[in-house]
């Protein structure tokens, strides 16, 4: 259950729209079911009242939309940003990807978003309605007469279980209470994989990546992947590639995808959220983040506008590429 309600956001959006502060609102639009919200541009209070929703399934990170929308739309855009979204917001500003002046950012608190797949794993398929009551979700299915009550904590999206921050790092206005940067265990899974033997790791990733259908959702949803033209789509790059013809190409795409956002990835988790095949792509990004934190000191992309990512920076004392493997032995 979110601490901030649809009504509060609606009132704020209507106010800013009516008083001319913004000319449109980037918000979550009503779907067919209670969980399938679509990012939507609302241009009037009426549209907002009819279509604006806010619930436990509003996970989409809006930051990336600002790149195109600010370039196209007239006037200011109101955007609601959850704490994790603000990091992407800042990172895009660091990379000069949109005009800050054209955005009115309202920071909103987030208690973590639910993962519909986890809900379905408990309730079964065939969801008729999902209600929210305190920290419980009440799920009605087509097959059960009684509603199933689920603790929201049980169905939190992976990225929300390992939420890195409830603190907003950018906004024009903040609604609700400001949170703190949280102590998360987000690197535990990476560490678990690191502890495996190379053979086990290879088998793990072979299995995960073999499911890839190269739909590019991970890339296209990623707020760091905002290239005008992706190398994988560009025949003149020499590495253009449209489908994973074999396991090499699966790996190539995902290694390079993660490498290209290394140091720029804010760990927002959109890649894994949108993957139709549930490949834990965020682990690749987190591996880079974890490594760079360990090698070069803590760095959180997007925490500050204009900060310099580890891969475009250096010190004369950096460790050697050959040393990255036996750090563990030295630390032990």
């Amino acid at each position: 259950m979110q601490k901030i309600t649809r009504e509060q956001l609606l009132a704020k959006a209507s106010e800013l729209l009516s008083n001319g502060t913004v000319s449109c609102v980037l918000g979550w639009g009503l779907g067919e079911f209670d969980y399938d919200v679509t990012p939507t541009i609302f241009k009037s209070v009426e549209e907002l009242e009819n279509g604006f929703v806010f619930n436990d399934f509003c996970g989409a990170n809006f930051s990336k939309y600002l790149v195109n929308k600010t370039a196209k739309l007239e006037g200011k855009i109101l955007v609601f940003l959850k704490p994790c979204d603000t990091y992407s917001f800042n990172q895009l500003l660091t990379e000069h990807r949109f005009d800050r002046e054209k955005v009115y950012a309202v920071g909103i608190p987030c208690e973590g978003m639910a993962d519909i797949a986890k809900v379905k794993a408990i309730s079964g398929d065939g969801i008729a309605a999902i209600g929210s009551n305190g920290d419980k979700l009440t799920v009605t299915t087509l097959y059960d007469d009684e509603a199933i009550v689920i603790d929201t904590n049980e169905v939190l999206a992976e990225r929300c279980i390992n939420c890195k921050s409830k603190k907003h790092v950018a906004y024009d206005e903040l609604m609700g209470e400001e949170g703190d940067v949280t102590q998360s265990n987000r690197f535990d899974e990476v560490a678990r994989l690191e502890a495996m033997t190379p053979d086990e790791r290879f088998a793990f990733w072979q299995n995960e990546l073999s499911r890839c259908i190269r739909c590019n959702a991970c890339r296209d949803a990623c707020p760091a992947c905002t290239c005008e033209k992706c190398v994988f789509d560009n025949p003149s790059s020499g590495v253009e590639n449209k489908s994973p013809a074999n396991s090499f190409e699966e790996k190539l795409f995902h290694i390079i995808r993660a490498y290209h956002v290394a140091g720029r990835c804010t760990d927002c988790g959109e890649c894994s959220r949108v993957c139709p095949q549930n490949i834990p792509l965020h682990l690749l990004n987190r591996k880079f983040i974890k490594d760079m934190n360990e090698f070069y000191g803590e760095y959180q992309a997007g925490a500050e506008v204009g900060s310099r990512a580890p891969l475009v920076s250096y010190t004369t004392e950096d460790l050697e590429p050959g040393e990255v493997f036996n750090r563990g032995e030295n630390n032990a």
């Binding site: 072979q206 590495v239 074999n246 880079f288 250096y314 590429p321 050959g322």
Partner: protein
């Protein structure tokens, strides 16, 4: 000499100013190393894109080594410092995917270190030979 003995294919990216000159010096001094090593000249080790490394593996390389000036001696002041960070990150990622870490290496070889160049190549070829064929980053279409 054994027949049909396994010969690895090694791609070595050498920076123009130090390592390529180091390789030349190895030649001047007639310091032998296996012919399995094929050198590609780049202006600076920082010119080496991770894509090139993966490309080499795809096309059948069994090992890729990047040689540059010693840290602090880069002809372009800072190029090899970036190489160091990029490759540290990349190699660690390859290891994370379970790809043998011994197949990739970065070595700093100065223009005066012909002996080091030859020794490095001998050692690297030996290491890769021991690993055998690159199976984990191969593209079967490119096999002969």
């Amino acid at each position: 000499m054994q027949v049909n003995e396994y010969k690895p294919l090694i791609v070595a990216f050498c920076c123009n100013w130090c390592s390529y000159a180091g390789a030349d010096l190895a030649g001047n001094n007639r310091l032998a190393y296996p012919a399995d090593v094929k050198i590609i000249r780049v202006p600076c080790s920082c010119r080496v894109n991770p894509m090139f490394i993966l490309r080499a593996f795809q096309r059948g390389a069994d090992g890729v080594i990047i040689c540059g000036c010693h840290p602090g001696d880069c002809h372009y002041t800072s190029g090899n410092y970036f190489t160091r960070r990029r490759m540290a990150a990349l190699f660690s990622m390859l290891d994370f995917l379970g790809i043998e870490k011994e197949r990739t290496r970065v070595e700093w070889v100065s223009a005066a270190e012909g002996a080091k160049f030859a020794a490095t190549m001998n050692d690297f070829v030996q290491t890769v030979t021991a690993l055998g064929e690159n199976k984990r980053l191969e593209d079967l279409r490119c096999k002969k």
